[in-house]
Symmetry: C2
DNA sequence: CTGAAAGCGCTAACAT
DNA sequence: ATGTTAGCGCTTTCAG
């Protein structure tokens, strides 16, 4: 089965390749009849235009690159699904790149995308530092960053995570919690910084002392601590009565560890996560979570990117509001319980 | 910032473009010195080869297309992550296509991949029927199917789902269950057929009557039924004492619905899912599940595909064994409970 | 060991 | 309204 080219179609339709090309692109200066004839010829030969050649010749490959830290993360995979859907609705294909949270891979992924001549890039970066490293590479290629891990001077669609964390902490405060800890997150991530900021702001405004358990080592300590809990969940002297987890995944792990150690949620402590992943909604979990709507984020990011690609817009900065999804992992403290 | 081409490098290194191309490909007939010079020039100009042009000229785009029904499905996103990782380790990029379980989209996705000149395809098809529809389009392009939804005459990496379901049913039988129902699945899927087969084989071998709740309508009935359960979980007269769910997701939903309706698992009935997704391992759930190792499936599929692309092999057929991951959603029936 | 030239399939001036 | 021609950036014969 030989590759059928635009020349074959041209020959069959008795027109020039140019006409075929124009007919396929619905050029206004081509008569209805010719278009029909060309289309018929295409059908007959089962002609499929070669996007690669088209990309080399014209300037567009109709491909956009999506680089994320981990496609198997529920939030990111949901986001990718939305992105893919919108892109393909607009005639764009999606090239996927996973960085596994490695800045070096991220740099390489950007390079590969560029050499693939993508028309634009959607990147959920590891950190502002890693973003700064590939910024020059990307140059003026349309690019929209997903999330908070970017330097100020670029296009992005992010969620106000400072506010998200602030509202989570406020919510816990108003429920009567006074020993609220923040757990999880990778140092260097601006998402983490923002969440910590919001958390601190809330606590300090009430005269409370922020307590942060961040980074793998400290988290390891936390898991150990949970394991040492006596079954039955001792009420006394625990260092916290509420936890804000960096992500739902971490929240779920905390839930897991806590209950393994004999602690119950929300009886022994309240718990809030981030991302509002699908599994948090299950009745076993009913995890209260700060949502960063992947639907709106994905849709808006694609919209902004395509606008840039089409030259319809320049740099854009969108900060979406977070939404606290209240479920069952937080409870109101009795007055007498307060310390 | 102008696009730097192989000619620019050639000029700087004072050699011909041909030599640059050869040096970059580590052609044996190029002297060490020239290679060094060329590499230096590349560095200096920050030259990035244009894969698109390379694809047009040579025959390879170093891109493989991955088409799945739903990237946000935990099993598939985990599988994609593995695939992406292996591909990029071998210098291949991954083009992603989501079909949202629509055979028409699937057909279009295949067409788009072809026009993108992918070197090979990895497809998790909707059904053998949909696969048959795009078979001709793909022609002799290297392609490996993921899962069971393919016709016999093609390359694939699948899991023995007949055996998986059989073993699940056997396990329940040996635990003392006699009213085992199978729930969930889309009619037309061969994965479903295989699972049903295994399930039936086990039940019939024990003289039990298979009971299958399949398709959206019947499932809707099931959800309603759960909703009507009196809280407290009536023990008497329930039509089943164990459920094999088509996927973990469905199992989780069943768990959800059941407990909402006042039934407990495994006290009121045992439950087994398929796919062994990460969330099933959480302590709240501890879902017993038939695993189709995404790691091995993904790795093997990429291996087989690359072998085909490199002409190292022809059609391959791999059927991996399933593995029953025993957790906490099944219990042994007391003798007196048996009906 | 290295270079010149032809083309991969398509599009976009520039004709007509 | 349609055709001619010249590339896009790279690889690959075929000649040195």
């Amino acid at each position: 089965m030989e590759r059928v080219t635009i020349y074959d179609v041209a020959k069959l339709a008795k027109v020039s390749p140019t006409t075929v090309s124009r007919a396929l692109h619905d050029h206004p200066a081509i008569s209805k009849k010719t278009k029909q004839r060309v289309r018929a010829a295409c059908e007959q030969l089962a002609y499929v235009p070669d996007i690669v050649a088209r990309g080399l010749s014209g300037q567009k490959t109709h491909t956009i690159g999506v680089i994320v830290t981990d496609i198997s993360d529920p939030y990111l995979s949901a986001l990718c699904a939305v992105i893919e859907q919108y892109c393909s609705a607009h005639g764009y294909r999606v090239l996927l790149g996973n960085t596994l949270h490695d800045p070096q891979y991220e740099l390489e992924a950007v390079g590969r995308m560029l050499s693939q001549q993508v028309d634009g890039l959607l990147i959920s970066a590891h950190s502002p530092q890693s973003q700064a490293r590939h910024k020059a590479l990307i140059g003026s290629l349309p690019c929209v960053y997903l999330g908070n891990n970017h330097t100020p001077d670029c296009s992005y669609v992010e969620v106000d995570n400072d506010r998200g964390a602030y509202e989570a902490a406020q919510y816990l405060y108003h429920l009567g919690h006074r020993r609220i800890v923040f757990a999880g997150g990778r140092v260097g991530s601006r998402t983490l910084e923002l969440r910590l900021n919001g958390y601190r702001r809330s606590l300090l405004s009430h005269g409370l002392i922020p307590r942060e358990i961040v980074g793998t080592e400290q988290m390891a300590g936390l898991w150990q601590w949970f394991r040492r809990q006596p079954a039955g969940g001792a009420q006394n002297g625990r260092a916290f009565d509420a936890v804000i987890a960096y992500t739902d995944i971490i929240a779920l792990n905390i839930l897991n560890a806590a209950e393994t150690g004999g602690l119950r949620v929300p009886e022994d402590f309240s718990l809030i996560g981030f991302d509002d992943i699908a599994f948090g909604r299950l009745r076993h979990v009913r995890l209260t979570s700060v949502s960063q709507s992947h639907t709106r984020t994905g849709q808006l990011a694609v919209e902004r990117l395509l606008a840039q690609i089409d030259g319809r817009s320049g740099q854009t900065a969108d900060t979406l509001p977070p939404e606290l999804m209240i479920r069952d992992t937080c409870r109101r403290m009795e007055d007498k319980e307060r310390s």
